[in-house]
Amino acid sequence: MSLRIALAVALVAAASMGFAVEPGAAAPDFRLMPFAGTKSASLSDYRGKVVLVDFWASWCGPCRQSLPLYNNLQADFPADDFAIVAIGLDEDTADALAFLREHPIKYTALQNPKGDVAQAFGLKGMPSSYLIDRNGVVRYRHIGFEPRDIDALKREIAALIATH
């Protein structure tokens, strides 16, 4: 009887414990619709490039800084080597569209109102970004954003482009 109770407690604990993608693990693939256009995109489309997957939302304060700054980041590296995929997690897509009108971006923005991709990555905070190498392996994870984080990102991207 006590064994059964212990098993039940362990099960509930396991179900509630968050799974998170750590650096070194393969990035979970996804296929999502963009905010502009009708053609869906998936992470595997970018295989062979270094990819920055960034999770954002209109209600996320630091995202107001990070999304515009990523425009320059994309411009700093060749499009054949590096791509940014920004995944909007607003439950109401209209909020995200208003945000994108206010902060125009030059890279791919995909929508995930259900949040299942965020779930698959096991986000620990907002915003979160994952730097993925050419083989689809997560190399760096950043939680939160400050403008000076861009310098570290640049170094990491340059290193990943150079290694393969």
Partner: protein
């Protein structure tokens, strides 16, 4: 007569068992609340301005000022004032 007493005893036992089942089920439900945490990407609604404790910061500051002017003499909020509302 005797079978009637037996019946009563067994029904009481069932009632007792049911009560335990109910209590355990209620306890299990309580634990269920703890497993449903709000995930970082689900905070959109919580971040809305009308979900704030003080939706209007200016109104809150004015209320606070009136409050400590009135209650200052009793040492309600930190430093005491004269209650004149001039600090």
């Amino acid at each position: 007569m005797r079978s009637n007493a037996k019946l009563r005893r067994s029904s009481r036992r069932i009632e007792h068992a049911l009560r335990w089942v109910l209590a355990l089920a209620a306890l299990a439900c309580l634990g269920g609340c703890a497993t449903q945490t709000v995930q970082p990407w689900q905070r959109g609604r919580l971040a809305r301005w009308d979900m704030r404790w003080d939706p209007d910061p200016l109104q809150a500051a004015m209320n606070q000022h009136a409050y400590f002017s009135k209650e200052g003499t009793s040492g309600e909020i930190g430093a005491a004032g004269g209650g004149c509302g001039c600090n």
